[in-house]
Symmetry: C2
Subunit: 117 residues, 2 copies
């Protein structure tokens, strides 16, 4: 089991979500965050997710999807919509969300480099 | 000054680099990492960078570029090539590098949501 998302077949899509938290409600935020990481993989078209938050407070979550429609549907998911609303009203000081088409990928595992495309 | 990269004019490109470290050489790794974050902004076509590493060891760095050519040139930069080599020979247990075209973006600042595209 690795924390890195597997490489699905190209082309696919990535949602890069970068955020700065407010100091508000760390417990509520953690519950929501865990819940979203549990819900997203159950959505049609979900391919993987990677997430990290450093000591400086910058968080980056990249989720991978088979189509723009799958991304749209996940953004409109009722429970996710509620999380977005609470994010804007309290948890996040600032965020950027970028929807990207993955055009090329390279992977490395420590037994040797292995460009996959 | 914010840790989040500004939104440049679309379309532009993102390099999503996700990695798991080995326990080796934390000092050498930190020096290289700082140096790359200093060098990259001096390259033609560089638009911004965001980076985070969580307590579970997963690191995500997203850099933004004006063109695929700018990404290619940065990958071929001599000092960066050396860092890549040392990364594969010791610092990284595993990584993925995904080159993406940013198709849409949304930003939020806590004084109100402001979709930019």
């Amino acid at each position: 089991m690795t924390l890195l998302a597997k490489n699905p077949r190209l082309p696919y899509f990535a949602v890069v979500f970068t955020s700065l938290r407010t100091p508000d409600d760390p417990e509520g935020y953690a519950v929501m965050s865990d819940r979203m990481l549990q819900l997203a993989p159950a959505q049609p078209g979900f391919l993987g997710v990677e997430t990290a938050r450093g000591d400086d407070g910058l968080g980056i979550t990249v989720s991978y999807w088979s189509s723009l429609e799958a991304i749209h549907n996940w953004r409109e998911h009722a429970e996710h919509r509620l999380a977005q609303l609470r994010g804007r009203s309290g948890w996040y000081r600032e965020y950027r969300l970028r929807i990207c088409r993955v055009e090329r990928e390279i992977q490395f595992e420590s037994d040797g480099p292995c460009p996959s495309n």
